[in-house]
Subunit: 250 residues, 2 copies
Amino acid sequence: MPDNKLNSDTRERILDVAERQFMAHGYDATSMRMITGAAGVNLAAVNYHFGAKEELLREVFRRRLAWLNKERLIVLDALEQQASGEPLKPSQVLEAFFGTLLHIGEDEALGGMTFLRLLGRTLTDPSAFISAFFASEYAEVIERYKQALIRSLPDVPRAEIVWRLHFMLGAMSYAIAGTDILHVITGVEMSDYAGQEPGGKSEAMKLSQRLMPFLLGGLRAPLPNFSASSAQNGLLPAGAKREGEEVKKQ
Amino acid sequence: MPDNKLNSDTRERILDVAERQFMAHGYDATSMRMITGAAGVNLAAVNYHFGAKEELLREVFRRRLAWLNKERLIVLDALEQQASGEPLKPSQVLEAFFGTLLHIGEDEALGGMTFLRLLGRTLTDPSAFISAFFASEYAEVIERYKQALIRSLPDVPRAEIVWRLHFMLGAMSYAIAGTDILHVITGVEMSDYAGQEPGGKSEAMKLSQRLMPFLLGGLRAPLPNFSASSAQNGLLPAGAKREGEEVKKQ
DNA sequence: TCAAGGTTCAAACGTTCGTTTAATTTTATG
DNA sequence: CATAAAATTAAACGAACGTTTGAACCTTGA
């Protein structure tokens, strides 16, 4: 009756099932009875092992993000040591940040595409305790990578870099969430949602190879020109406007 | 006791309040009693006017998306007629699609930043009835703009264009959702969340001027090179890999 | 072997949820 | 003004929610 591929340990089994259910239905729409039922454990097991539902969600993320953000710091440290004081290339910074993330999608032991989708969908959740948790969990990594990006693009204003880091996180988040208006409409393959078969590997790799050039192109795009005319109609030709200073570097 | 700036008509007042509450707390975490209480109407009013909670959410989106997607088709029609058979420039297509959207953020009568944030946050909601609704509501517009993009980039494979359209939707969605890990950590100004003061105008404009160059840069980035070595360690230098063919055009 | 601590269990807790009902008030129409 | 339709109201519905309880069960070490 319980889900397949379940861990023998009750605690881990709850985490595995909760991860999948939160991904498929969202936090609020996933009840304790759905989780414990699918995990084949007693209803009270969640409260016994984790205290409350909120703490269960935090633990679902904690066990994955702990590895991810530690790995991100290790990779960045290695890159910076290897560069011996010189600024990194933007492509190196992006590869380190997003490459480590997308690596999770290729490794079921790290959460696989299930966790990636959960992460992408939860990053935009307005719930107070969720955003507070992410803020504290991501603080150090974001700060380190922000500084690395600022050093790698000395001619781009700091505020602009923060904006583009924001855009990049969004493109990545939405891409791995896989909730596609596009997928339903277009006949293109894209993701296949399942994630348990070995095909998950190539899926995450394809995503990585598609996403990285896009992010680099966006990061290195010309800066906006704020001196140009303010609003615009939307009915006008609209082309060839707001060109700006070019960003150099690789 | 009820919210300020409320419409005199009960039906519209419910829609206004629901829009704000769904944005602030999400669909599941917003109860009928929260909505009717803040709107100063009877609990049964929602069921009387809309039938059910799901239908209320659909109507909240419908009254805004009706204008948006109609406007998008009008603008695209005008551009294509003006081009008289020639393919549009990618920048024109993006300006038409995302410019009309971000215009909503500048006009409180169209929903303002409140609706933009709600839209951004709901686009990644896994709930079945929500994604089904968006799929049908967006079908025509997405198909038309996809075709326009394909025509504007004849040397880029269709699948690649769909991927990048996906990435662009993500960057936009996340940016307007404004649930920022970054905002909490960095001291940069960015959005100011409130949305009722006239400052909302410049906020949406700034966002538009920052987002558009990023999207164009990502769309026109070099194509990924699939013949290169497959996975990669994550601990290696990681730089200067996977460069590829350049995409031309403006 | 037996006490102790960790774990699982069925059952119930009080609360909140979305929805429905039936009576009442308001509005519009002849 | 009378009457039908539309709208609003207070109250209650059953269902589902997260959590708690206290007894039963299993494991472990002296």
